[in-house]
């Protein structure tokens, strides 16, 4: 009884079976079903009686493209991703550089403190921020009034609602990417900095020609994960603004939720979900492509 390759292969599949079965049935199958669903007129009547279901081809997608509400949601989501994503990555990198610098004592303490918002429950802190943003009693407007700024109706003003949500989202999750950046920074060999110092390079030049290029892979990873996550924004507008004011914070996922689970237009909502998927996929491929083209 030395080695039984066949026995080992069958036990490999036995170990894999539960996970693969679950992922197949509760993830891949629904994804495939969602694609089919998006070509049907599945609505509240079909929910009760499947005979009412009809294939309608690309009608949902065509209807989507003609719906101003969909374009609003798409625009809002892009706003959130394009402004919030880079801001979040920049704050994360700044925090990582601060915490990781040799000048900083007790880096473990600062790291944990900056990380604290990440472990909180999004819904709970969104509730907290709703009150911080209160135009009359909110702490934020009070602090701004000390600097002579007039009160801002953060969540009620159509122009401020999205920036307010972005600010809250960045506060909530910059700590996560900060940890990844710190890991990346610690992987850079210290000899490189020593050599640069001997050659007379200052702090900025060291940052520009050593830190940034060597952080490249970390940067790509962080940017990708942040983008994928930010495209899926849902709980922040759901709790803080319900998509308002004037639909200015309605996100694609919130639209999908409303259409699918409030009005039971599941065919239409599936089409919304697939557009989101396509956007995330396109964004991912674009970032990978840009990265490849960059000279190393």
């Amino acid at each position: 009884m030395i080695y039984h390759p066949h026995l080992r292969i069958s036990s490999a599949w036995a170990f894999l079976a539960p996970a693969l079965l679950l992922i197949a049935v509760f993830f891949f199958l629904p994804i495939f079903a969602a694609l089919l669903l998006s070509f049907t007129d599945f609505d509240i009547y079909a929910l009760g009686d499947l005979d009412r279901l009809r294939f309608i081809g690309f009608s949902n997608y065509l209807q989507l493209l003609q719906s101003p509400l969909f374009w609003t949601a798409l625009g809002n989501t892009f706003y959130f991703v394009i402004v919030g994503g880079p801001l979040s990555v920049a704050v994360s990198l700044g925090a990582a550089l601060l915490v990781n610098a040799p000048l900083t004592r007790f880096p473990g303490f600062f790291r944990a403190a900056f990380f604290l918002p990440v472990v909180t429950t999004l819904v709970a802190v969104a509730v907290v921020w709703r009150y911080l943003y209160h135009p009359r009693y909110g702490l934020l407007n009070y602090l701004l009034s000390l600097a002579g700024v007039d009160p801002i109706d953060w969540l009620g003003d159509p122009d401020w609602a999205m920036p307010a949500i972005i600010l809250m989202a960045v506060w909530k999750n910059f700590g996560f990417n900060m940890i990844i950046f710190i890991a990346g920074l610690q992987n850079i060999p210290t000899q490189l900095y020593e050599a640069a110092r001997i050659d007379g390079a200052g702090a900025w030049r060291q940052f520009r020609y050593i830190t940034l290029p060597l952080l490249g892979p970390t940067f790509l990873f962080v940017a990708l994960m942040t983008m994928i996550g930010y495209f899926q924004v849902f709980a922040e507008p759901y709790v803080m603004t319900q998509g308002g004011p004037a639909n200015r914070t309605l996100s694609v996922v919130l639209l999908m939720y409303e259409e699918g689970f409030r009005w039971w237009n599941m065919g239409y909502a599936s089409a919304v979900a697939f557009v989101l998927f396509a956007l995330i996929l396109a964004g991912t491929l674009l970032q990978l492509k840009l990265r490849q083209r960059e000279p190393s």
């Binding site: 049935v25 509760f26 604290l116 429950t121 009150y131 996929l281």
Partner: protein, 276 residues
């Protein structure tokens, strides 16, 4: 000039750090302070940062009048069940991917990883219909079953096990131990640190999750804390102190868990981040 910079730099540096600390912690500080204020004090102007007289009446109201204990129990039960079951299932799969050689292994693993770009929301509509067919809407299983296996969990276990030498397992095989026995009494104990890490991730992820419980648990008695909190906001939005007490209660368990197991949590992010 240089001496001046050397003097000033630490001061500047620490003021930046202090500013960061202030911005990060103030919302959480205010949440706790407001939850302890007498009714109406959290909406006084200028805003207070500490209660004039501490009171626990809002916490009492949450447990007596608003039955928050029920949601606390639901959340604990769901997060606990998902964590235990998924650790078992993901560790078996991770072990198979790391330590067995079979045809199509790498291709299978690669395609699982590629599926990570698919947003979970895409699956939600059909998943709801599927669970409805099984009669699982409004049951704990409706939340537990979709969380029982995760690609990220399998990935994390696999990465960890790749670093463990095969010779250790081969020795046990020579002794004639069954494959499941090797997994159970050799591989699992070896995986302890990564199991703790993945366990915290899963527990916190399930605890903090909002969208799926919101969809599946429509009956109010079944709801989790975040969903109950969002509903509470609808009725008690004027009651700032009460809402803050509810927020503290929702956040506190995961914060304590993080405080105790911080080391494992951060190590996990670094592992996932560097290898990913």
């Amino acid at each position: 000039m240089n001496r001046l910079i050397n003097r000033l730099l630490p001061a500047l540096w620490y003021s930046l750090l202090a500013l960061g600390l202030l911005l990060t912690l103030t919302p959480l500080w205010w949440m706790i302070a407001a939850s302890l204020m007498p009714p109406g004090e959290a909406t006084s102007y200028p805003p207070r940062l500490w209660p004039s007289a501490m009171t626990f009446e809002h916490y009492r109201a949450l447990f007596t009048r608003l039955d928050l204990a029920r949601y606390l129990l639901n959340s604990t039960l769901l997060a606990g069940a998902v964590t235990l079951i998924s650790l078992f299932i993901n560790s078996m799969a991770g072990y198979a991917f790391a330590k067995f050689r079979f045809r199509g292994r790498d291709r299978l693993f690669q395609s699982l990883l590629a599926a990570l770009v698919i947003p979970a929301q895409v699956a939600m509509l059909p998943l709801f219909l599927l669970l409805k067919q099984f009669g699982l809407i409004n049951t704990y299983w409706g939340v537990i079953i979709p969380g029982m296996a995760s690609i990220f969990g399998i990935f994390l276990i696999r990465q960890y096990l790749l670093a463990i030498p095969d010779s250790l397992l081969d020795a046990a095989r020579m002794d004639g131990a069954s494959e499941f026995r090797i997994y159970w009494s050799l591989v699992l104990p070896l995986c302890r640190p990564i199991l703790v890490t993945l366990g915290i991730f899963t527990f916190m992820g399930t605890w903090n999750d909002f969208m799926w419980p919101l969809i599946v648990l429509t009956d109010s008695a079944m709801q989790t804390l975040p969903v109950a909190l969002a509903n509470l906001l609808g009725e008690h939005v004027q009651d700032t102190e009460l809402m803050m007490a509810g927020s503290v209660l929702t956040v506190l368990p995961v914060m304590l868990l993080f405080a105790v197991l911080q080391r494992y949590y951060i190590a996990g992010i670094m592992l996932g981040g560097i290898k990913g």
